[in-house]
Subunit: 214 residues, 2 copies
DNA sequence: GGCGCTTTTTAATCTGTGTTAATCAGCAGA
DNA sequence: TCTGCTGATTAACACAGATTAAAAAGCGCC
C-alpha cells in the first residue's frame, strides 16, 4: 500500500493494523524518540532504523526521504497536542471559570508532552531547528495551537480574571515555555506527573490572578 | 600564543585585545550563535567559519577540535549566566524579601539569556543534546547554577514566602524553563525586554506566593 | 509448487563535513 | 635582507550517513 500515501480511508479501525502498518508506526515512534533526544540535525536514519528494528533503507519503503519522515512526526505531534488539549477543554463543566480552563490546558499540555507522546514534544521542541520549508508548515500548525491559548488568555483577561499588568503574549509564552521545558528535567522516577501538574497549575493560577479586589 | 592554552594571565585588560584574541572571540561568538540556532549536531564548522569571516581550518589554530570549541562556548555560557545572576543578587539591598531575590534572579536570567549572551542560551538549551562526556561536564556547571536557585527557593519556603502546596523542584524547573524558552519566541522588535521581565517577575511572584494569611 | 505482489535486505554510490598537510602572507628583530 | 614566528589559506583525505539499485525473502493464491 505505501510508497506514496497512506490514504486515510474513513473506516474506523475495525480491522486491527496490518503488519505493514505496525512497521510504519514503529518507525514513526522511533523517529519521534530520536528527534526528541538528538534534535533535528542529530536525527540519523540509522538510529531510527535500529530502534525500529529494521535496516535503514527499509525506511524508504514507507517514506520517500528523511525529511518527509521527520515532517510526518512533527505534523502528528502538533495534531496530538492540539487534540488532547482541545478534548480536555471540552470535558470541562460549563461553569468552569476562565482560570479553570487555563489550568486544564496546562495539565493537558503537560500530559501530552510528558506522557502521551514523544511526537508532541519532538514537534514543539524542535521547531526552531527545522529547515525553513518544514519550519514554515510547522509554524502554521503551531499558530493554530497557539490560538487556543491566546483565546483562553484573552477571554480570561476580558473577564477580569487576569492581572492587568501582565503582558498577555509574554505571559502565555512564559507559561507554555515552562511546560515545554519539562521534558528536559522530568523523570518519572523522581516525582509523579501529578505533582508536576499540580504545581504547574497552582503556579499558573496564582501567577495570572488579578490583585484581590478587596 | 594559542595552539594549546589561552593562559589566563592575571593582568587586567589594560592592554586592549590583540588581533589574535579578537579573532578568537569572533569565532566563539559565531559558534555560540550557530549552536543556538541549529543545535549541537547542526553546528557546522563551515557555518561558524563563515560567520566569523575565516576559513574553516583556521578554527584549528585556536581550538583543537570541533568539540573543544563547542565545549568552550558551553562553559563560557554557564559561567556568564551564573555570574550575572549572582551579581544581580549581590546588588540587592539587604532588606530585600526572599521573593524579591527570586524576582531579581528571574530578571537577571532573562537578561543574560535574551540580551547579554548567546553563550548562555546556547549552553542551557543544548545541554541534553551534547555527547555524554561533554554533557557530564556541563551538568556539573548546571548544577552549580541550579544550586543558586534551589537555595533561593528553599530559603523563601523556609521563610514562609512560598505556597506550601508547590513542589519546590517542579516549581523551580517550571520557572527556569519558562525563562529559557523565551529565546524561542522573544523578538526585540515585537516587545521590549522590560515587558517580558516585568511579566515574568509578576507571574513568578504571584505564582509562588503563599495563600493570604488573612 | 510455481507466480506475482509486498516488504526487507545487502551492496554500492554520492555528498557533506571534520580534519590534516602543506603552503603562504605579514611582520618583527638582527 | 634574511630569519623565524604568528595567523591564516588552499588542497587533499577520511569517514559518516543519506540515498539508490538490485536482489532476496515472505506470502497469498490459483
Amino acid at each position: 500500500m505505501p510508497k506514496q500515501r497512506s490514504v486515510r480511508t474513513d473506516e474506523r479501525p475495525r480491522t486491527e493494523p496490518s503488519k505493514s502498518e505496525r512497521t510504519r508506526e514503529r518507525i514513526l515512534d522511533a523517529a519521534a524518540k530520536v528527534l526528541n533526544r538528538n534534535g533535528y540535525a542529530g536525527t540519523r536514519l540509522t538510529d531510527i532504523a535500529e530502534l525500529a528494528q529494521v535496516q535503514a533503507p527499509a525506511l524508504y519503503y514507507y517514506f520517500s526521504s528523511r525529511e518527509e519522515l521527520i515532517e510526518a512526526v512533527v505534523t502528528l505531534g502538533m495534531a496530538r497536542a492540539l487534540e488532547h488539549v482541545t478534548e480536555a477543554l471540552a470535558a470541562l463543566p460549563a461553569n468552569a471559570s476562565r482560570l479553570d480552563r487555563i489550568c486544564a490546558a496546562v495539565g493537558a499540555h503537560l500530559e501530552v508532552v510528558l506522557r502521551l507522546s514523544d511526537y508532541a514534544s519532538a514537534a514543539i521542541r524542535n521547531g526552531p531547528q527545522l529547515p525553513t520549508d518544514l519550519r514554515e508548515r510547522q509554524l502554521v500548525e503551531q499558530r493554530t495551537y497557539g490560538d487556543v491559548w491566546r483565546r483562553l488568555i484573552d477571554e480570561a483577561r476580558a473577564a477580569g480574571e487576569i492581572h492587568p499588568d501582565l503582558d498577555p503574549r509574554a505571559a502565555r509564552m512564559l507559561i507554555i515555555g515552562g511546560l515545554n521545558w519539562a521534558t528536559e528535567w522530568w523523570n518519572p522516577n523522581r516525582g509523579s506527573l501529578r505533582t508536576v501538574i499540580n504545581t504547574a497549575q497552582l503556579l499558573t493560577r496564582q501567577g495570572l490572578a488579578p490583585p484581590a479586589t478587596d
